[in-house]
């Protein structure tokens, strides 16, 4: 049975302008760290990692005048919690360009336990043999359960375990912000 609790917004930690600033900065960091865009592939983790990756690619192409390939990765089939969930996530299509010998930047909205990233790395390895994998997240809320660290972070957001970070993007949600949500007991 579901807990008798509801999520309530506690604070807005990024707005539309803040998100844009973070992504522009990171797009520069990616190019700088990799000394250009050669061999670079951005792979967004479905679902909100995908529009973030697309925006990063657009910012990079604005400044570098080259197109960076963007892929979409569905990690449902790689999750380690399928039997623990009583609901069942939809499987979506994975569309990833050739990653053999490439530097892949995995892109996701929130980094939390690290399990999603682990699953994504497993999935990537099945799709080819990248020369390296880097990780970009819009927010890092801590509480890692696996030895995983992001290479590019939009914003570090210290949270408690009963809080939740919700990233909302225009492409998916028709609004643009990052919220901290708090679990509160439902009062009847």
């Amino acid at each position: 049975m579901a807990n008798d609790s509801v999520l309530k917004p506690k604070a807005t930690i990024m707005d539309e302008a803040g998100i844009k600033r973070a992504l522009v900065r990171i797009s520069h960091e990616i190019v700088e760290r990799n000394k250009g865009t050669e061999n670079l592939v951005l792979v967004g983790i479905r679902r909100r990692g995908v529009p973030i990756a697309q925006r990063l690619a657009a910012f990079i192409s604005d400044t570098e005048a080259t197109e960076v390939p963007v892929g979409m990765l569905d990690i449902t089939l790689y999750r380690d919690d399928l039997t623990l969930r009583h609901d069942q996530p939809m499987v979506h299509r994975t569309e990833v360009p050739d990653i053999n010998g490439k530097t892949v930047v995995l892109v996701d909205d929130v980094l939390y336990t690290g399990r999603t990233v682990r699953a994504a790395m497993d999935a990537l390895m099945d799709l080819g043999r990248p020369s390296s994998i880097q990780l970009m997240v819009l927010t890092d809320r801590g509480h890692r359960e696996l030895p995983i660290r992001a290479d590019y972070v939009g914003k570090n957001v210290p949270t408690s375990k009963h809080e939740l970070v919700e990233v909302r993007l225009n492409e998916v949600d028709n609004v643009e912000d990052v919220l901290i949500m708090e679990k509160v007991e439902r009062d009847e």
């Binding site: 089939l77 939809m90 099945d126 799709l127 080819g128």
Partner: protein, 311 residues
């Protein structure tokens, strides 16, 4: 979250038991699975440690191989017992087989069986999920689903399509599943064949009957040719293969009566030169080979949907 959808069915016994929503979910999931089959490493770890058992009481090459591949691609453990090796030939009753299955405890049992309803029997007697891989002349739901998936890859939707199913509808579980599936998804299904091979009241399953094939083919978006069991001739269902081929064989002339972009399908194995000419079977409109990987994708999707969720 809307992104979570589940099958309400514990078993896949027939398309008759599946709603439009459930069929849509299966087809969407199959479409996602399709990509895995084209990867260099055709395996995902999703069902690692899960056990699937197949019981084939009738010979089958492609359906069995397709289920086996689906299990492998999903990393499920798969064991199959087929008629030659199983104790069916030694006279063990299905009930005793079922008891053995139950004690082995697979989470999914796939069965093909010569008796209609055998999978219903199995489902009543085991705690596993049961997937019908063909029961008598009743249903072959995974074939119906893979056929719909194949059409969906070429046409935007099934709604409003004209689907013509030609041949021995009487003895065909494939025909029954396709009639139910396509008609439920909104297609107009017409069956055609010698009147001796059209079962009574078939129109009540959601199709029209048109014995004149040329007439049936007008405006067809999909032409589905059924396999003709050659031994039906000796049982007097039709006088000769020659006459059958003349009246109901699918050839270039006949295919040209359908819409120019009509798809040609066949569940296999084909009797070339009997129910279908090689010209068209290997021609540009044929999607017969695409049906094969789609079969694997559909079966992967079903394994995921039946096993993926927890308790």
């Amino acid at each position: 979250m809307n992104d979570v959808q589940q099958l309400r069915q514990k078993h896949i016994l027939g398309l008759a038991e599946l709603s439009v929503e459930e069929m849509t979910l299966i087809l969407q999931t199959s479409e996602s699975m399709r990509e895995i089959i084209d990867r260099p490493i055709k395996q995902v770890p999703t069902l690692r440690g899960r056990q699937v058992l197949s019981l084939f009481y009738e010979s089958s090459t492609r359906t069995k191989a397709s289920f086996d591949l689906a299990c492998k691609y999903m990393s499920a453990g798969a064991v199959s017992i087929s008629k030659d090796s199983s104790s069916l030939t030694k006279g063990e009753s299905l009930r005793d087989t079922v008891r053995n299955v139950e004690i082995m405890g697979p989470e999914v049992v796939i069965m093909r069986h010569p008796s209609g309803g055998a999978c219903h029997y199995l489902a009543r007697n085991v705690s596993s999920s049961v997937i019908n891989a063909g029961d008598g002349t009743h249903e072959h739901p995974t074939q119906g689903l893979l056929d719909m998936l194949t059409v969906l890859q070429h046409k935007e939707h099934l709604d409003g399509l004209n689907v013509v199913i030609v041949g021995d509808v009487f003895h065909s579980r494939v025909a029954r599943s396709n009639i139910i599936g396509f008609s439920r998804m909104g297609a107009n299904v017409v069956v055609s064949g010698p009147s001796t091979l059209l079962p009574p009241y078939i129109e009540e399953m959601g199709c029209q009957v048109e014995s004149d094939l040329d007439h049936a083919l007008a405006e067809a978006d999909v032409v589905y040719v059924l396999r003709l069991q050659l031994e039906r001739q000796s049982a007097s269902y039709f006088p000769s293969l020659r006459e059958y081929t003349e009246l109901y064989g699918l050839n270039e002339r006949r295919l040209a009566l359908a819409k120019p972009d009509a798809l040609l399908m066949h569940p296999g194995p084909m009797n070339r030169g009997v129910e279908i000419d090689s010209d068209v079977a290997d021609g540009a409109q044929s999607v017969i080979l695409e049906q094969v990987p789609n079969g694997v994708a559909v079966r992967m999707a079903l394994l995921y949907l039946l096993l993926g969720g927890g308790e």
